[in-house]
């Protein structure tokens, strides 16, 4: 497909109807993710414990009346609306395991995870794309085989094992995130580049005698930009998924470690907040990716 063809496809993705439907899907995903989070907290063990029962100053009738009122207030629909309203203001409740507001915990740890995520994603994208480029552009069998073998080997190793290796060697952990991401980026980037490399437009331009750099920029990187942008979105999501095992095992005090500690301590308010935030983040990235794809 020519660069112009690609642009028109991209433009059609941004048509108002499609944009609205994508946004509606994004909002619905967050609302349903939020509902699941609220339901988890609402039905967590100990949520219904009524401390009034132990108060000797209250009559049985008062206790019963208060209990009935609480039942109404804590019904799932009302509870959900309250949970969402509080979450919209950044109040996700209090962590049971850490005895601190969840928002405070997230604020402290977000920068550490963000650093790892950004460097890991950029590293993974750069290395994966470079390897994909080397396997497609120079058309050398040895390079292609080496690239495929490297990617295949890295794909076969669990990211957490890779991170442990880096941790014990005291090498930067973002590089482990990048290497875990590399084969995922490589596979898709290679397919995209191969499509453009064999396009009739590029072959015609090459026949006209255009230089390699000009060919690459005009007929490969430019037209492939929307797809590569979508790939970057997916890469963020994949890197985020690898943060939990990497931070958990390598003792990095980020959001991933918080999630793992929350799980081990059965801290449902914390897990629910993280679930809601991650769902929103991933849904947002996917929506953006769908628009550019």
């Amino acid at each position: 497909m020519t660069p112009v063809g690609r642009e028109s496809t991209f433009a059609s993705r941004l048509a108002p109807g499609r944009l609205a439907l994508g946004f509606l899907t994004f909002i619905a995903t967050i609302l349903i993710g939020g509902f699941a989070a609220a339901a988890l907290v609402r039905y967590s063990p100990g949520f219904d414990v009524d401390e009034d029962v132990l108060n000797p100053h209250l009559s049985p009738a008062t206790i019963a009346a208060r209990h009935a009122q609480r039942e109404v207030e804590n019904g799932l629909p009302r509870f959900y609306l309250r949970y969402l309203a509080r979450a919209a203001h950044g109040d996700f409740g209090k962590s049971e395991a850490f005895n601190l507001p969840v928002s405070e915990l997230l604020r402290h740890r977000a920068s550490i995870s963000a650093g790892l995520l950004v460097r890991g994603t950029l590293g993974g994208l750069a290395l994966g794309s470079l390897l994909a480029w080397l396997s497609v552009w120079p058309r050398r069998l040895t390079l292609e085989l080496s690239a495929v073998a490297t990617s295949g080997l890295l794909l076969a190793i669990p990211p957490a094992v890779l991170a442990l290796f880096f941790f014990f060697r005291e090498w930067p952990l973002w590089l482990a995130v990048a290497l875990a991401l590399l084969p995922r980026v490589f596979g898709t980037a290679r397919s995209i580049l191969e499509d453009f490399y064999s396009s009739p437009a590029l072959l015609a331009a090459r026949a006209r005698g255009l230089g390699s750099a000009r060919l690459a920029i005009t007929y490969v990187l430019g037209p492939a930009a929307p797809q590569l942008a979508a790939l970057a979105g997916v890469a963020v999501v994949l890197a985020f998924g690898s943060l939990i095992p990497i931070e958990g095992l390598c003792d990095v005090p980020g959001i991933g470690q918080l999630a793992l500690k929350g799980a081990l301590a059965r801290d449902l308010p914390l897990l629910s907040a993280l679930g809601l935030i991650i769902t929103s983040l991933v849904a947002g990235v996917q929506w953006m990716g769908d628009l550019t794809r």
Partner: protein, 265 residues
């Protein structure tokens, strides 16, 4: 490359299936006076810190990982086929709901679902329950990936010339679905099945390493990898790397048999 990979995979599957006959000891039997023993007659790979035979545990772990990953992949593909079949209906609302459900399942990071599941399970959960839940949840959570491919294929089929021709020829919808649409979907289902197996093998390994997968004493490749958290143990007994070596070997074989790398993302 395909033939050696197939032979190696078949060998690993046979080893896993024959674990009860090949394993020198029960996987959960503790030889209390032999904890962390080096390889020796009777324990070719040594024992773990609880005195359990490493070779027996590796053989049983192979059985768990190589049999249950395809089972989880089957669940995902069947669920995906079931939900995606709704895309054949001439309703925009159904199509949007399907796309929404797909988006939600793709938005929830799998590992987070397992963390929540684990937080709901009691600490002394039966290993059989944990292994079933782990792989069943993998199967259920993973339907969205093949679901997207099936839905796209069904939507494409709705506008296909052969479908119009079949309708014009007076074929009943059931006949069109079974005789014309199904063969196309079946080949796609096989492709998706083969893509999902390595993904699930790797997911189980990551979960097991974190202690969120199959619960002790039942072995899986994932929970056997937990020894890698202690470099001194690895240095003292290099056989602790055997599960990782087997996992990497199986993953490479599965990858070389995987039809489309692009779809795997």
């Amino acid at each position: 490359m395909t033939r050696p990979a197939t032979i190696l995979l078949a060998l690993v599957v046979v080893l896993g299936l024959a674990a009860p006959w090949l394993a020198p000891n029960p996987y959960d039997h503790q030889f209390r006076d032999m904890a962390s023993a080096s390889p020796q007659p009777g324990f070719p790979m040594g024992t773990d810190d609880l005195g359990r035979d490493r070779l027996s545990r590796l053989l049983y772990a192979t059985r768990v990982s190589v049999l249950l990953a395809p089972s989880a992949a089957t669940i995902s593909v069947l669920l995906a086929l079931l939900f995606s079949a709704l895309a054949a209906l001439p309703s925009r609302l159904v199509a949007w709901t399907l796309s929404l459900a797909n988006g939600i399942f793709l938005s929830l990071p799998w590992i987070f679902l397992f963390i929540i599941l684990r937080s709901k399970l009691s600490l002394n959960t039966d290993p059989l329950v944990s292994v079933t839940l782990t792989f069943a949840l993998m199967g259920v959570a993973g339907w969205a990936i093949p679901g997207r491919a099936f839905t796209a294929s069904i939507v494409e089929m709705k506008d296909a010339g052969w479908l119009l021709q079949a309708r014009a020829a007076g074929l009943r919808p059931w006949r069109i679905a079974t005789a014309h649409a199904w063969p196309h979907l079946w080949s796609l289902a096989l492709v998706q099945f083969r893509i999902l197996i390595p993904a699930y093998v790797l997911s189980e390994a990551s979960l097991g390493l974190l202690g969120l997968g199959v619960a002790d004493p039942m072995p899986s490749w994932g929970n056997l990898l937990r020894d890698l958290q202690h470099p001194d143990v690895v240095q003292a007994n290099p056989w602790t790397l055997a599960p990782l070596a087997l996992l990497v070997l199986v993953m490479i074989c599965l990858e070389s048999l995987t039809p489309s790398r692009k779809a795997a993302l």
